[in-house]
């Protein structure tokens, strides 16, 4: 026991953004392109310093549009690549995020959320980009959006973002927030599994957009990559709407068919009369609130969603079917509560709890709201 403990790295104080950068390095990220923005900049600063030492490439681009474009280019040149930003930069990235989805490009986009819209409250925390992360691009797309609720989680979920991006050949968005990005916790970095890019077993008859196998430029088969709707061969098929819809549905179904996509934590939901459905930094306060509520005689439970999109409808419907009230605290004016309501469809009573003033919910706020929700209120305020 002692020997095992001494063999592992001693815990150290790590900042959320630093944990994100370390997770990226652990996942095998060899390319980062970014643009400075609060509260995400330390991710870029850490990687600017550390990527050269592992032979990776770092570049500070002229804007966020250039940053994500360079990341996608690097992915096609064979790199595991990432960028990180916050709301305004995330908005600028949307068109090219759509390009990454359309072209099946594995890459990771971290959005450390701050309060918006526009320049908003640049140093204050938010969960306002939940819908933008899903619907910010024009058109439909297969979306994979993850969250984290602790510094250790940031490390693990960054690795998971890379893993899922490789497994499904998609851009994966990791939503952090200003608080989590700048928070420091004394942690030991956990062991993680790393998934690598799947190369085709044979180049004979290989079609670059048929499945999960990915072949970069210069590896033996000439590749055509385009944001136009295209066939599995890469040949543009910009007037073939049926093919475009088929390709789109196939990408979305592949993600939703993977049970490994729907990451979540449940706590004390078995006998719960009230379940708090929370994600990101809010799940942390919700967890404390559950303990508090139990002590006060309310049978409370927690469903923490680590994957927001694709939305885990089946899971939420099941949890809702076994409880009376679903309290949904969010640091926005009601975003994830919309698919929650759709999934619950009348079984449990869904009560949103919202604030968009850049301030976190305390466990007390959530516990107080839970008591009010139990009295039959449809809306509660912190």
């Amino acid at each position: 026991m002692t020997r095992e403990r001494s063999a592992r790295a001693a815990p150290r104080l790590i900042q959320g953004n630093e944990a994100c950068a370390l997770g990226a390095l652990r996942a095998g990220c060899t390319f980062y392109a970014g643009y400075p923005i609060t509260p995400a900049s330390e991710i870029m600063e850490t990687l600017a310093k550390r990527l050269p030492a592992v032979g990776g490439a770092f570049i500070q681009m002229e804007d966020e549009i250039g940053a994500i474009a360079a990341v996608i280019g690097a992915a096609w040149a064979g790199a595991k690549a990432m960028t990180a930003t916050s709301g305004p930069g995330f908005s600028l990235m949307q068109e090219n995020l759509g390009y990454a989805a359309m072209t099946g490009t594995p890459c990771v986009v971290v959005d450390s959320q701050r309060a918006g819209p526009s320049t908003g409250l640049p140093t204050l925390t938010s969960q306002g980009d939940v819908m933008q992360a899903r619907w910010g691009t024009h058109g439909d797309r297969a979306a994979l959006v993850l969250t984290a609720s602790s510094v250790r989680d940031v490390y693990e979920m960054t690795v998971m973002a890379f893993n899922l991006s490789e497994r499904h050949r998609l851009p994966v968005v990791l939503l952090l927030d200003a608080t989590l990005s700048h928070m420091r916790e004394n942690i030991t970095l956990p062991e993680v599994q790393v998934e690598d890019r799947r190369a085709p077993t044979s180049l004979e008859g290989f079609e670059p957009f048929r499945g999960a196998e990915f072949l970069p430029f210069g590896a033996g088969a000439r590749i055509v990559v385009t944001g136009l709707a295209h066939q599995a061969s890469g040949r543009p098929a910009a007037s073939d709407g049926a093919n475009a819809e088929r390709m789109l549905r196939r990408a979305m179904e592949a993600v939703e068919a993977d049970p490994g996509v729907f990451l979540h934590r449940v706590e004390a939901t078995d006998d719960a009369e009230l379940v708090i459905l929370a994600y990101g930094i809010t799940a942390r306060a919700a967890k404390a609130a559950v303990g508090q509520l139990r002590a006060e005689g309310v049978r409370a439970g927690l469903l923490e969603l680590q994957t927001l999109w694709p939305f885990p409808e089946t899971l939420v419907a099941r949890v809702a079917g076994e409880t009376e009230v679903l309290l949904v605290p969010e640091l926005n004016l009601g975003q994830l509560v919309l698919p929650v309501r759709a999934a619950v469809s009348g079984t449990a009573r869904v009560v949103p709890l919202n604030r968009a003033d850049g301030v976190l919910f305390s466990p007390d706020d959530i516990a107080r709201a839970a008591h009010l929700a139990m009295t039959g209120r449809e809306t509660v305020h912190a």
Partner: protein
Amino acid sequence: MPKTGQDLRKYLRVEMMPNVWCPGCGHGNISRAVATAMDSMSLDPDQVVLVGGIGCAGRTPFYMNTHAMHTTHGRALAYATGVKLATPSLTVIAVLGDGDALAIGGNHFLHACRRNIDITAVVYNNGIYGMTGGQVAPTTPEGFRSATTTLGNIEPPFDIVNLALAAGATYVARTTTFDVREMPAMIEAAIRHRGFSVVEILTQCPTYYGRLNRLGDASQMLDYERDITVPLVELTRDEVARGLPIGVFRDEAKPEYVDRYRALVERAVRGDDA
């Protein structure tokens, strides 16, 4: 012009043809020159990436039997930067329209010049937005007509060469589709150049630019290109007003971005700390 017997099929993706370009469009001539340059250099097409943006010129990568990246409007150079920095052994050529390069993509153009990254930008300058129906471009001369300047353009145009020179590109040249014989050598020199190279090529758009400005058919537009330009070598200091100069404006060796980054990586791997 290709050497006698020069077979360009190795560099052309014939199965993607016919192309989208209108009859009389100059883009095919430029694309042929790009293929000719690659052939003269005996480039392995599997180690070449052509990156295009959106618009008529941006379609070029589809017709070249290299790797093709048809990206988003204006962003080709940013994509190309990622490709080149991640895998420097690849030869990266960006094919851009004038609107793609200088309006929506102007910022990336300036910064690619400034960085001096080893990418060749071939700017197909037809002075108009062709694919969307002939709207004014940042290169349309004053007074010229387009679908959005029916009373004549009141905005001064960018001079692509001067812009590239000022922003720091280390190989800068301009030619026209009239000078089709000289074009491949100029593009070849640009690809061979270690650093960011810009080749601006004036090309005819008879469908919109020619028709809206009564410049005649494609053949007459080629004569027009000849008439409005003057080879740089013929120009004396006092004659700058005689026409738009064409030729090689800059060809200088300066530290290239990826080389500099690699030197930095070597220092970091050795553990030298600044």
